[in-house]
């Protein structure tokens, strides 16, 4: 074997980390809803597809970029609030599996609706950022990846500020901790849920556009959620920080694995490596890296 090419290694690592940021983004959408209502929202992927499809269709019909973005955001907010009102609120206090099944059904309804409204063909999505590599101190980095990572990082920063230092955020964390106590204290749970679904809709929009530009806007886009699952297993289902770190780890390790271990398995391991890591994690540390271990004195 020849000498270890460090520059190449860094390139793969950075590329992996940057694509990991996009996994994080999808995973955060899950975490928000899971923390406040204990639901693993399987419809997150469908929401992502719906957002991307709505945006692309508007742009294709000649709506200016900014306006299309605003309209799509509005649609996602409405969608989020409608889901909360019509599906989740009547099911409050039902077992988690009931809620999970409801979101599973919901994901098919949203996908079906998207198909009905916008048709089934594949759309290209051009955000106006070329995917040309940029050279930074000898390492080639995709401009698009860099842009996506910056957008995702901004989203994360905004969410962190929101949850750490505002009353809405405090209420969010309180509900996540103890829903019954939050009710007794007088916190307006429906309003908090609506806020969370709106935030999840916004994340679906951003993630939908980024992934859509990468993969093309088509129905397999909703399968991006499946990539979020190992991220959640790794980071913990109830930790935003976990979703970020988990995404980075999955992104980096699957790229590195593909490049350095790919030959051993005959290539193509990028598509399943994340799940293998997740499986190993479930055996070693089921709560994930940052999952909540009950903080309580005996």
């Amino acid at each position: 074997m020849t000498g270890f090419d460090f520059t190449f290694f860094l390139e793969v690592l950075v590329g992996g980390l940057l694509s990991g940021v996009m996994y994080s983004l999808v995973a955060i959408g899950f975490v928000l809803i899971y923390k406040t209502s204990g639901v693993l929202n399987f419809a997150q992927g469908a929401m992502l597809l719906f957002a991307a499809l709505t945006f692309v269709s508007l742009v294709e019909r000649g709506v200016p970029f900014a306006l299309a973005l605003a309209i799509t955001f509005l649609v996602m907010v409405l969608l989020g609030i409608t889901i909360e009102r019509t599906v989740l609120r009547p099911l409050v206090n039902k077992p988690p599996i009931t809620l999970f099944m409801a979101t599973l059904g919901l994901s098919y309804i949203i996908e079906g609706a998207a198909q009905l409204i916008w048709g089934t063909q594949v759309h290209g999505l051009d955000l106006g950022i070329d995917d040309t590599p940029l050279e930074i101190s000898g390492i080639l980095i995709s401009k698009f990846d860099l842009f996506a990572a910056a957008v995702a990082a901004t989203m994360v920063a905004v969410l962190t500020v929101l949850f750490r230092w505002t009353r809405v955020g405090l209420a969010f964390r309180a509900v996540a901790d103890d829903q019954f106590a939050a009710l007794a204290v007088g916190l307006r749970l429906p309003r908090i849920w609506a806020t969370v679904w709106t935030a999840a809709g916004l994340i679906a929009l951003v993630a939908g556009l980024l992934w859509g530009a990468r993969l093309g806007v088509q129905f397999s886009l909703s399968l991006v959620v499946l990539k979020a699952l190992p991220v959640l297993v790794l980071g913990g289902f109830d930790s935003i920080l976990g979703a970020i770190v988990g995404g980075l780890l999955i992104g980096a390790s699957e790229k590195l694995a593909e490049v350095y271990l790919g030959d051993v398995f005959g290539g193509g391991i990028e598509s399943w490596f994340a799940y293998a890591i997740a499986l190993a994690f479930l055996l070693i540390r089921p709560a994930g890296l940052f999952g909540q271990k009950l903080v309580e004195r005996a």
Partner: protein
Amino acid sequence: MTTPLLTISGIRAVYNHSVVALSDVSVTIGRGSIVALLGANGAGKTTTLHATANLLPAERGRIAAGKITFDGQDVLATSPGTLVRSGLVSVLEGRHCFKSLSVEENLITGAAGRGSRRREASADLERVYDLFPRLKAKRRISSGLTSGGEQQMTAIGRALMARPRLLVLDEPSMGLAPLVIEEIFKTLSRLNKEDGLTIFLAEQNAAIALRFAHRATVIENGHSVLEDTAAALRARPDIKSFYLGKADLHAAAEARNPTPSPVPA
């Protein structure tokens, strides 16, 4: 005579459409009074308090008969949040602090529930720290790491942040050391005297409840069976033996070793 602040009349509570938790409970709470709800495990104390704050629907329970009125408002037709904002605030059994939030953040959720302005909230915060100085020292610590007594204080403080007119407490003495129980009840008594706060509390520890309450209602198997002033109830032999649990023991101890009673009767 002024109208009572809270009236519970003949309520019947059912969980999951099948389990009857209360058959016929009535309690009247006059303005500015401390009223205790006494009863054994499973008598229906917690259900009565949850009904008072309209929290039963959140536990798949409902009131099948009877009526609850808080200051002219139909409690059963009002959401728990609206009740909090009109001054009916609960402290749940087992504290229910937000464990990952700091003590101070816990307190602020009370202000958020009421919708207090920031200035009101910081004034209320000072008041709570004045009542429970221990909380001030622990304000930055996550409440899950504080002691049971501190968690109870946090839960009470959180309720006070919502500026209650009626404070509903479920077993404030549960699992706490006698000195801490004493401190908490003295603070409640102080709030009652200084601010005219009306208090409705359920207790298994009838001795302490009857010492601080003005009146008490006893419930058994989902029925309210007795209502009187605390002094009158303390004197009754059946209350002594059932709830204070010291009638015979005390007499026996007295015979062996005549010392003053640890709990003033």
